[in-house]
């Protein structure tokens, strides 16, 4: 075992853990003041329930056995994890992957803001973690998984996390419907300083997310740190440039959104690209995700906090651009189209994105419909008007 590698992965696990509270504040600032605790609670609760489920069975589904589609029960309740000991302890890998499993369903909460019943949410993400996230993580992150075997690359989860959660967000929005008053009454963010704070925490934690995925304290990890920073920076600048030209102002929410868009897009690429590539990837994501904001207007989807535009579109941009910019001089043995590898990787990246998207959409839609028809997915009209803080949690964020 290598103590330096182990230390870095353990620290990265803590960094990735910190992203979920960051996401809570990123989203929490954007909702109306009567729903901020509801949003914070959904994100924090994901830490609670998914951590337990991951130890119980999720990790084993993703990393047990040798099947291409689904794992086995060899690591259930974290039995036999010591058999994974190598450069780092098996448990360090469990902890690091656990934090990914936690934040992925939490990403969905931005799309369903202000109207998702808490009990239904708890059930939704519990089932989703087992039926959607764990299998997809296996396909993408486990060397036995079919997407990994096919040759598609996903360094830290462009497909497994962002496309996956983004598509799931769309599926749940289609079932739960739009917020009351959507499109007719203004619902501006109630606390953008929270959103900026959350963005800073996400950005900080993302260093562990991407560079920790090297699973070693080595040159690939260093490359991932640099790539992550440059893509986030370029994402911010790209979004602000387009926003300034088209809307007249560079906004703080635009800076936050652009940085996150760049971070999302660089996630699959972080350990596979170098040079100026991360800046291009980030800038394309910043401008592209801004342009994608129009999708929900045209389709009348109340994806309240733009999970589709930022995570789904950002994830697709990063996953596909890796097919162009992957550089075997940086890491691995696959080159993208622009680095002499031909179109093979681009094709694999497309298949990975489409397969994850189709699977996640179908299964998530099924889960959401079943919950909606049985216990109900959505709060009552009265509860929605009073706000989630009071109706779901019997609390108020701000005393009168």
């Amino acid at each position: 075992m290598n103590s330096g590698d182990t230390a870095w992965v353990l620290i990265s696990a803590a960094l990735v853990l910190f992203m979920t509270p960051g996401l809570a504040f990123f989203y929490g600032g954007m909702v109306r003041s009567k729903n901020v605790l509801g949003m914070l609670m959904q994100n924090f609760f994901a830490i609670g329930i998914v951590s337990i489920l991951w130890a119980m069975i999720g990790f084993s589904i993703a990393f047990g056995g040798t099947g291409p589609l689904i794992g086995n029960t060899e690591f259930a309740w974290l039995a036999n994890v010591a058999t994974l000991d190598g450069n780092i302890p098996g448990l360090a890998f469990v902890a690091f992957q656990m934090m990914f499993a936690v934040i992925t369903p939490a990403l969905i909460t931005g799309a369903t803001a202000d109207r998702l019943k808490f009990g239904a949410y708890a059930l939704l993400i519990a089932i989703w973690s087992i039926l959607v996230y764990a299998p997809v993580a296996r396909w993408v992150f486990n060397p036995n998984g079919w997407i990994y075997e096919m040759g598609a690359l996903d360094f830290a989860g462009g497909a497994a996390i962002h496309i996956n959660a983004g598509v799931a967000a769309l599926a749940v929005v289609l079932v739960i419907g739009n917020r009351r008053g959507h499109g007719s009454e203004p619902m501006p963010p109630h606390n953008l300083p929270f959103t900026m704070l959350g963005t800073g925490i996400l950005w900080f934690g993302w260093m562990g997310f991407n560079a920790g995925s090297a699973l070693a304290a080595d040159g690939v990890a260093a490359q991932a740190v640099v790539n992550t920073q440059l893509a986030a920076a370029a994402g911010m600048l790209g979004w602000l440039l387009v926003e300034r030209i088209k809307r007249g102002h560079a906004t703080t929410l635009g800076a936050a959104s652009g940085a996150v868009a760049g971070l999302v897009a660089v996630t699959p690429c972080a350990g596979f690209v170098g040079g100026a590539s991360p800046m291009i990837i980030g800038a394309v994501a910043g401008a592209g995700c801004f342009a994608a904001l129009g999708i929900k207007e045209r389709m009348d989807w109340d994806d309240s906090l733009d999970v589709i535009a930022v995570h789904l579109v950002g994830g697709i941009i990063g996953t596909l651009l890796l097919g162009l910019f992957a550089d075997s001089a940086v890491n691995g043995d696959t080159d993208g189209l622009f680095f002499g590898g031909g179109a093979e990787l681009l094709k694999d990246q497309f298949v990975a994105a489409a397969a994850v998207g189709a699977f996640s959409f179908t299964v998530t839609l099924g889960i959401a419909v079943v919950i909606s028809k049985t216990m109900g997915l959505r709060v009552s009209e009265d509860e929605e008007l009073r706000g989630l803080d009071q109706s779901q949690h019997a609390e108020a964020a701000y005393s009168a």
């Binding site: 954007m30 203004p186 501006p188 963010p189 926003e243 088209k246 809307r247 007249g248 102002h249 906004t251 929410l253 635009g254 959104s257 801004f290 904001l293 129009g294 733009d306």
Partner: protein, 112 residues
Amino acid sequence: MKLVTAVVKPFKLDDVKDALKAIGVAGITVTEVRGFGRQGGHTETYRGAEYKIDFVPKVSLSVVIADDAVDSVVDTIVSSAATGKIGDGKIWVTDVERLVRIRTGEEGADAI
């Protein structure tokens, strides 16, 4: 006794307070309020979506004074709150039937 109520621009509050203190006003009560008038609102943009904000933040201040002080108090507020631009606010004066100082029980002019 009269109650003078003024709605002014928030950044003018300190100027108004200092001017009223200078003419001997012993106390004022301030409330943060929102409203619309001829000034109109403004537009805010969040992720490309534009919101028209009609209600503009203002500060409302109330002061109870003796009848003979009305003109000087109103004139002082006008001169200290004015910027000359639209949205400077309004002042209105109403009669006060009864005034009590809670600590001492004093009433009327003694309680001002």
